[in-house]
């Protein structure tokens, strides 16, 4: 078996060191080694977006990133967005807008939306739908999710 490698990355603002095999995905290491189980495994082939995290500020599907590629990178997961036990406004909007049912897709949606609103604080509905097209939801029919993102953008005005 290929030797484990020691990787250092800034995860949710904290420097973390972990050992992983080259064949392990970032998703696997986040969930199994670092106990950050927010990112979910839906499809494990890049199609569903449930495993979305931010890698140096860009949303990526962590099932298609090798953990060894994260050396020196800045990673943000859903665990890092609520501060001091307080939900972030975006999370509050998903909650209040009932933008989730089973919740499996939610961490992924929250991370992509976070990146979207950072770049474009007032997206149109079309922009929201286009930018979130890589996140699939089996339950909601998407409208409530789009409304929650709009509410979060409104709140930021």
């Amino acid at each position: 078996m290929a030797k484990k490698q020691l990787i250092t990355a800034i995860i949710n603002g904290e420097e973390r060191e972990f050992a992983c095999e080259p064949r392990q995905s970032l998703l696997e290491v986040l969930r199994d080694s670092l106990q950050l189980t927010g990112a979910k495994e839906g499809c494990n082939n890049g199609n569903c977006g449930a495993c979305t995290v931010l890698l140096n500020g860009e949303p990526v599907v962590s099932c298609l990133v090798l953990a060894v590629e994260a050396e020196g990178a800045k990673i943000e997961t859903v665990e890092g967005i609520a501060a001091g036990g307080q939900l972030q406004p975006l999370q509050q909007c998903f909650l209040e807008g009932a933008a989730l049912q089973c919740g499996v897709c939610t961490p992924g949606f929250l991370m992509t939306t976070k990146a979207l609103l950072e770049r474009n604080p007032h997206p149109t509905e079309e922009e929201i739908r286009f930018q979130l097209a890589g996140n699939l939801c089996r339950c909601t029919g998407y409208d409530k999710i789009v409304r929650a993102v709009q509410a979060a953008a409104e709140g930021a005005k």
Binding site: E21, G49, V60, E71, L132, A133
Partner: protein, 292 residues
């Protein structure tokens, strides 16, 4: 996932040395959006994965001294579509990189990987072909260049020999009064692969007539196809809807698609006509606006 070693060389020479190592079965990793899926599903085997994202020249994205574009093979799509100069001068490339997968895929996926993966439905290849882009290749016996249009040799096959690495794609300058566009047809708005696609490029003369035209179709043959008959019909003509319809009809004849769950032969041919017509109209509009 199958077991493999990982290396992230910082120079092209080192990458080539690793790829040529007879003791290894090495594969290149750029954005990983194709290769990690293939390795996980065991449709490809590897003992060594060579990550090329740390090599400086593969990360370069800049205008060349001649006024063309140097696109490093490891530059992700999202970096390409954020460049205003590229959107202006190579708009068909921007059209394509904006629709490759969703945002998460675009953050990682590269045009180099899209080309090397050689899928008939790859969105970046028709645009590369209409711009007459050139692939710069490094290998154990030095460097070579070849037209992108000759780079793919079949479904999932390219001309790279063992140890060879795609370094960059180099675009010639685009003249004034030139314009281009790329479109594909997919059953939903985003996140699907092309049933058929077309890229069109035109150059207009002082009187607004078409001086040069290139039309390349995707997803309707094992590799991209050039619709030469349609191109010829455009030369010397004033752009008009009737002319674009005629070009679309001629373009259909160049397509030799397959029947599959995404569409029948007839449907795909029809789409070639529609997409040719539409991309020509946009290309002409962009050419007319391009006065610099």
């Amino acid at each position: 996932m199958q077991d493999f070693d990982y290396a992230a060389p910082i120079s092209t020479n080192e990458a080539v040395r690793l790829l040529a190592d007879p003791a290894q079965k090495a594969v290149v990793l750029a954005g990983g959006t194709d290769i990690l899926v293939l390795l996980r599903e065991r449709r490809r085997r590897a003992t060594l994965v060579v990550d090329v994202k740390k090599i400086a020249e593969l990360n370069e994205l800049a205008m060349t001294a001649e006024g063309g574009l140097f696109l490093g093979a490891a530059v992700p799509c999202s970096r390409i579509y954020r460049e205003a100069t590229i959107a202006e001068k190579y708009s068909a490339l921007t059209d394509a990189v904006k629709i490759i997968g969703g945002w998460q895929i675009q953050s990682r996926a590269t045009v180099g990987g899209n080309l090397c993966n050689a899928s008939p439905a790859a969105d970046s290849i028709p645009p590369l072909a209409i711009y007459d882009a050139v692939a710069e290749i490094a290998g154990p016996s030095g460097r070579r260049q070849m037209p992108v249009a000759e780079f793919c040799s079949g479904v999932g096959k390219n001309v790279l020999a063992r140890g060879e690495l795609l370094v960059a794609i180099i675009f010639p300058p685009t003249p004034v009064h030139s314009g281009a566009a790329y479109q594909r047809f997919i059953p939903r708005n985003e996140m699907d692969i092309a049933v058929a696609s077309a890229a069109s490029y035109v150059e207009l003369d002082d009187k607004g007539a078409i001086r040069k035209a290139r039309i390349v179709l995707g997803a309707v043959a094992p590799t991209t196809v050039r619709a030469t008959k349609a191109e010829e019909a455009l030369i010397g003509q004033q752009p008009s809807d009737a002319l674009f319809i005629k070009a679309g009809e001629l373009a259909q004849l160049a397509a030799s698609p397959i029947d599959d769950m995404r569409g029948t032969v007839e449907y795909r041919k029809h789409l070639c006509g529609v997409l040719t017509r539409r991309t020509l109209a946009i290309a002409v509009e962009r050419a007319a606006a391009n006065k610099k």
